[in-house]
Subunit: 148 residues, 2 copies
């Protein structure tokens, strides 16, 4: 079902500081900054070498990412796998008895179609499945755009 690692999600308190750190690792391409209002966070995709990292910073205490940072600290938040058909993949996971956070696909960063599996079903690893359309499937996915 999984085709590749689409990106690694990293919970950070300060996106600008995080970007400075990532730049130490090598040249980065920074995607467009997006506000994900329903999750009370801002997100940006950063391509470090061949590895896309999604920096997510909570915008208030009601964000699940704020709760994550409070409980576990900054760091690895989720793994996203690319799939060809998000609706079929979610159905397949459900049929396997896995617990889904998103039963229906929703729209995520850079207009992807995505859904999360509950970490209770995935060994404690919050897992996102992502379908991207041709033309929007090359990291950093959204138009490169330096974050101010």
């Amino acid at each position: 079902m999984f085709q590749q690692v689409d990106h690694i999600g990293l919970a950070v308190k300060d996106m600008d500081a995080a970007l400075e750190t990532l730049k130490k690792l090598g040249p980065v391409v920074v995607g467009e900054l997006e506000l994900i209002e329903r999750d009370h966070l801002k997100a940006v995709m950063v391509k470090t070498g061949e590895v896309p990292i999604e920096l997510i910073q909570p915008l208030g205490p009601e964000s699940s990412v704020a709760k994550f940072i409070e409980k576990k600290g900054e760091g690895l938040h989720h793994i996203a796998y690319r799939v060809a058909d998000i609706a079929a993949s979610l159905k397949k996971c459900e049929a396997e008895g896995m617990r889904l956070i998103d039963v229906q696909p929703r729209v995520g960063y850079a207009e992807c179609h995505c859904g999360f599996l509950h970490p209770k079903s995935t060994l404690g690893m919050l897992t996102e499945l992502v379908q991207r359309e041709p033309g929007k499937d090359q990291a950093p996915y959204a138009m490169p755009h330096e974050v101010k």
Copy 2:
């Protein structure tokens, strides 16, 4: 510097139960089980689709992975990136002011040469750099071998 995601490290309490869960996600190829004595853990690489996952299970409370699980629970433990030259990559990270756990490369799963960067320097994300030799660079890296 980074070429690709080499694997994702997952801290688990029970490797057999974890393998059963991974098999729900699709066909898996299970590498050879290895004891990593210096870290008091056992490890096995599992290829799920195109994504290699290293299951690591502590063998006693002195393992840093046991401490990790106690503090944060089972789940994402580290990200490993493939590099062409591990010694040069570690030196480059050090020159960038990053904190290293391993100043010198050491031997890891499937006879790879690896080194860890301290999460304090990598946004809270425990990061491993891995160099693999040709012929040993295809997941699950060690000879496929079903874990008993």
